[in-house]
Symmetry: C3
Subunit: 179 residues, 3 copies
């Protein structure tokens, strides 16, 4: 189950990477590279800090989401390219999923709730940050018009608090619906 | 003691991050994020290379310096925002502290003095680099008008040399005053 | 032998870093810093993911390639600075070497061929990406006019396939000549 959510988060970020690649006029190879970096970036940082081999380098299935995202954006949705909105939506969806999955993975590894929240936010923010920095764009988390980073962080903190109180089951939905 | 110096270094870098965030017009959340990334960045890279869990993810106290820095810059010093000088001063102070603490931490972990110097410089340069790259600014270490990177590097090398000669006590001051 | 190829790859990337530093008007310290980051960047990311201490922080010899590259570009070839071509050539040469050495190192560490290919590409792309992001340039791997990333990736995949088939000797040349 966590694997499915993780792959879904990778997919959302990968789509946001491909959309930005399309706006920047990158070709399909560049689009796939940016999709992969955006999708894998946050998880790699998270796993390195936890001291485990990054999941993207263990499980070949992780290739599938960026591949689908690239093809989808490249062939199916060329008209969507110039719109800002879908990029933000996929970014926010990936952010919410990574916040919760990152926080839970850190808690399971025995981190204290405070640090786990920080790692959840780091892994969630990481992918989008790498995408925007590479494509020479002011990172969307710094956009003062959108406060979508705040609910994600609050969701991350909420999960850590529930964990402390002993509620460790399907709190996923809670975090996701917080956004 | 090393913890205090490390936290002080984080604080200096966090202030420089908040100052740049203010200049870029980021809101308080963005300011806190950039302060945290600048303050934690170098130490995270250092600890990952040393193969230990980054201190910022172990000790919740590390949250305090970026929080203070953000509030300080946001509420107390709005007039300071447009000045270039304070950013450079806090950057240089953080650089000097991280150079010495990074070199010493690497030496204590059993690295050879040459590599320890490199890691000290890497950890010192890392935070500011992350800050400038994220905020779309040519990194200040590449500014030909300021050679503040050089004394920091020399301080780092000096500490490694003193270590080799058996002088391992309070050489902190030496490195710091070198700048 | 692998050490020699690794150092050669570091040298190629370091030259590309120094060339870009020259074009940006950085001084010799900045040139050395960018040469080092470009040369070491990909290998550090590769080794962190593999869970070993980055070679650049173990073996002091790794300092030599960036130092030679910086001096070479700074003193010998000032007229070459404005040309785009040499930067691309050194970038492609470093890319090819890192793709093969990264893939082989990952295979030797017991990674599956698919993940090993991904890590080879990551380590090859890493250094140039860090260089371009720091110097505020759209990363050359995203340049639609040059498809030099594709042969490097194919070389990386080829090496992984040959490894699976039991051919593990001097397949270096194959990968390199692929470009």
């Amino acid at each position: 189950m966590p694997l499915f959510f993780d792959l879904l988060g990778v997919f959302f970020f990968a789509v946001s990477g491909s959309l930005l690649a399309a706006r920047r006029g990158f070709d399909i190879v560049g689009s796939f590279l940016l999709a992969g970096m955006t999708g894998f970036g946050g998880g790699i940082v998270r796993d390195l800090i936890l001291g485990v081999v990054p999941t993207a380098f263990v499980n070949p299935f992780y290739f599938i989401p960026p591949a689908i995202a690239t093809l989808l954006v490249y062939f199916v949705a060329p008209g969507v390219q110039r719109l800002v909105r879908p990029l933000l939506i996929f970014d926010a969806a990936g952010l919410a999923l990574f916040c919760t999955s990152g926080t839970i993975k850190a808690l399971e590894a025995g981190m204290n709730p405070f640090s786990a929240t920080l790692l959840g936010v780091t892994s969630a923010v990481g992918g989008g940050l790498i995408r925007d920095v590479i494509a020479n764009k002011t990172p969307s988390i710094f956009d003062p018009h959108d406060i979508y980073a705040v609910p994600a962080m609050m969701g991350s903190g909420l999960i850590a608090m529930l964990w402390m109180l002993g509620i460790r089951g399907w709190t996923w939905e809670l975090g996701v619906t917080a956004v």
